[in-house]
Subunit: 173 residues, 2 copies
DNA sequence: ATTGAAACTTGATCGTT
DNA sequence: AACGATCAAGTTTCAAT
């Protein structure tokens, strides 16, 4: 898990790349449609996709979701500096990822610090999130910036849908 | 596109949330399976999902992809400071997002700067990417950090599969 | 807007090359 | 490993509420 490790063997070839590009380009993982786009027979497509799934390259089906459409239009990027200590990397990381609204947590080189990206609905939630960061025992300090606009990656995959409070939040408006 | 705008109307209710959570939790968007999980009849699930698609909340089908499995195990987070000028935000942003390996570009508040996240296969590509950033006309300076490990969001959706060179890169090894 | 059942489409399987 | 034909399985539609 440090840098890269173990069996780094993947047997991808150009045909796989064509299939993956078709999936990405058309926004579908249907063997039938991929056949239409690439000309590769759907049974072959099926075979390749199964292979890639077994290799662990492909995992779950997702749906691309436009967070801003449901009112989640505030993105906050924070640097979170933690004290250094045995296992802090994991402990602190887990605490950060558990915070509602947090969607990405990176542990970075150099000083012991994290880059955390959160998406929320309301300005008030920003203060609350930053407080959450700072309330974690080993945190030294944080430094945050707002995102004005997302040039790339405007939409978001549903892979960790956590906005339980969303309906209520919307109702409040 | 500044903060949020226009019709911010979404008619999501708790049933939609249940469906979305099921999709996220089980990694499937099959009406049949969602019916099994939630108990909501598949025809109703179908109806709701269609609705959400028409509202623009849901877009493409995607597949979760483990980049590290295909050798893309280096993540680079950079702050890119640009000169301020009319339309630079768009111009510079577009140039940044066009760079191979760049997967996220955020334009942030405060000084005119971008946060850019790139994923690549080889250390050498890091240098090349940073050079690319700095070669863009309006860039003042950049500041980058490596990601040691991704605490959250380890996998990646195929929504912009651009690793054309990947097969060749792997072959070189 | 919801649903059960029908109609239809498609993804998965299988056997051959 | 590739693929055409086949069939089970799934999605979508429809009519009634």
């Amino acid at each position: 898990m440090w840098l890269h490790s173990e069996t780094d063997e993947t047997d991808m070839d150009k045909k796989d790349i064509r299939i993956l590009k078709a999936i990405a380009g058309e926004g579908t993982n249907s063997p039938d449609k991929i056949q239409d786009i690439t000309g590769i027979p759907k049974s072959t497509v099926h075979y390749r996709l199964k292979q890639l799934r077994e290799e662990g390259v492909l995992k779950n089906d997702l749906m691309e979701m436009d967070l801003s459409e449901i009112g989640v239009d505030i993105t906050l990027i924070s640097e979170v500096y933690a004290e250094f200590g045995e296992g802090y990397h994991t402990t602190v990381g887990e605490k950060l990822e558990a915070i509602e609204g947090v969607n990405q947590v990176y542990f970075t080189m150099g000083d012991t610090d994290f880059v955390v990206i959160a998406n929320v609905t309301k300005r008030a939630m920003v203060e609350s999130i930053i407080e959450d960061y700072e309330s974690i025992a080993e945190i030294e300090r944080t430094s945050s910036k707002f995102v004005i606009s997302t040039v790339k990656d405007e939409t978001y995959p549903i892979n960790d849908f956590e906005y339980e409070t969303l309906v209520d939040t919307l109702a409040e408006k």
